[in-house]
């Protein structure tokens, strides 16, 4: 009796909506090249109902639907670009884990490089400025003091 209850509970849990395993064998395409493209594309698409997962990794129902959709369109002959466009038409750029390069995202894509160049440039300027700074020449009084000190001490030559 307990065994029956256990199994029923488990079965209910496992078959409940939303508790699916990511990329299951029954989704996979027969053609390995197409399947590889499907996996690669799925890794680039965000699961919209998850917290930061791709549809390839996710257990969610919607992720499941979108994975199947991607495969259907691959079998129908769409290119990668066409499939991505299909989804961004419906869900916007948010569905892409790799943001498109457009004026709104120039800061994002070119920022790191720009910062690196700025930083390197700043350092170079700073170093050059420091080395070019001439030491302030001594005044007459300071010069006299210096000579007095050097003359007075009988310190051995330590060169």
């Amino acid at each position: 009796m307990k065994h029956l209850v256990l199994s029923l509970l488990l079965l209910a849990a496992l078959l409940a909506p939303g508790v699916r395993a990511a990329t299951s064998p029954d989704e996979m395409l027969a053609d390995p090249a197409l399947e590889q493209r499907a996996r690669a594309l799925s890794k680039q698409l965000r699961c919209l109902v998850c917290q930061n997962q791709s549809i390839d990794d996710s257990n969610a129902d919607l992720a499941d639907d979108l994975r199947r959709l991607v495969r259907e369109r691959l079998v129908a002959g769409d290119s990668d670009r066409q499939i991505i466009d299909f989804l961004t038409e419906r869900y916007g750029d948010f569905v892409l884990l790799k943001p498109p390069v457009e004026p709104a995202t120039w800061g994002l894509w070119f920022g790191p490089g720009a910062l690196l160049l700025l930083g390197a440039g700043g350092i170079a300027l700073h170093l050059r400025r420091r080395r070019r700074a001439e030491p302030v020449p001594l005044s007459a009084a300071e010069q006299a003091r210096l000579e007095a000190l050097l003359g007075a001490s009988e310190a051995p030559d330590r060169s």
Binding site: D65, R90, G92
Partner: protein, 176 residues
């Protein structure tokens, strides 16, 4: 001049801080619709089995301003918003439904219990048509104008303030 360079960190922080403050006023999980202003996708959904309501197709969405509500009997927030839909329907707003991934038997009982505001209901058992609408969860509600264009989308259950502040004014404007 060089002293001004030392101000850069605090200025950058100020900018980020303002951005974060603005971010606090938003809900990060809501995805704005990519279809606003575009024509409704082409589709033709069969009626729900056993229900005395015609199905829904894109052709039905031209000619008047309507609401399209994506719902399911297994969706708990859908229950929460249902009385609001009933009230809108009673006040004369045409509401069509897309039944998302549901079992035919369940819907009849659900609508019987909560009331039926829908003039037409299309059964989208695979969820594929919903994807064409950019749906990513239930419930979602769309405002369609007379030319069959999507003008607004509400994600999640309709709230009274959504209706008063956004929906009703929009319907009034679209209806002339």
């Amino acid at each position: 001049m060089r002293r001004l360079l030392y101000l850069i960190p605090v200025l950058v922080f100020a900018g980020v801080g303002i951005g974060l403050a603005l971010g606090l006023t938003r809900d990060p999980s809501i995805l704005p619709s990519a279809l606003i202003g575009k024509a409704v996708p082409e589709f033709d959904l069969p009626p729900v089995e056993g229900l005395d309501r015609p199905g829904l197709s894109s052709a039905d969405l031209k000619g008047q301003v309507v609401l399209v509500n994506v719902f399911a009997s297994w969706c708990i927030p859908c229950r929460a918003e249902h009385p609001l839909l009933m009230r809108l329907a009673e006040s004369g707003v045409p509401i069509y439904g897309i039944n998302y991934k549901d079992k035919p038997g369940q819907i009849g009982a659900w609508l019987g219990e909560l009331g039926d505001p829908f003039r037409r209901i299309g059964a989208d058992q695979s969820g594929r048509i919903a994807i064409d609408w950019g749906v990513y969860g239930v419930p979602e509600t769309f405002v369609i104008d007379a030319k069959g264009r999507i003008r607004q989308k509400f994600v999640g259950p309709l709230m009274p303030q959504d209706i008063d502040q956004t929906l009703l004014p929009m319907l009034a404007k679209l209806n002339g």
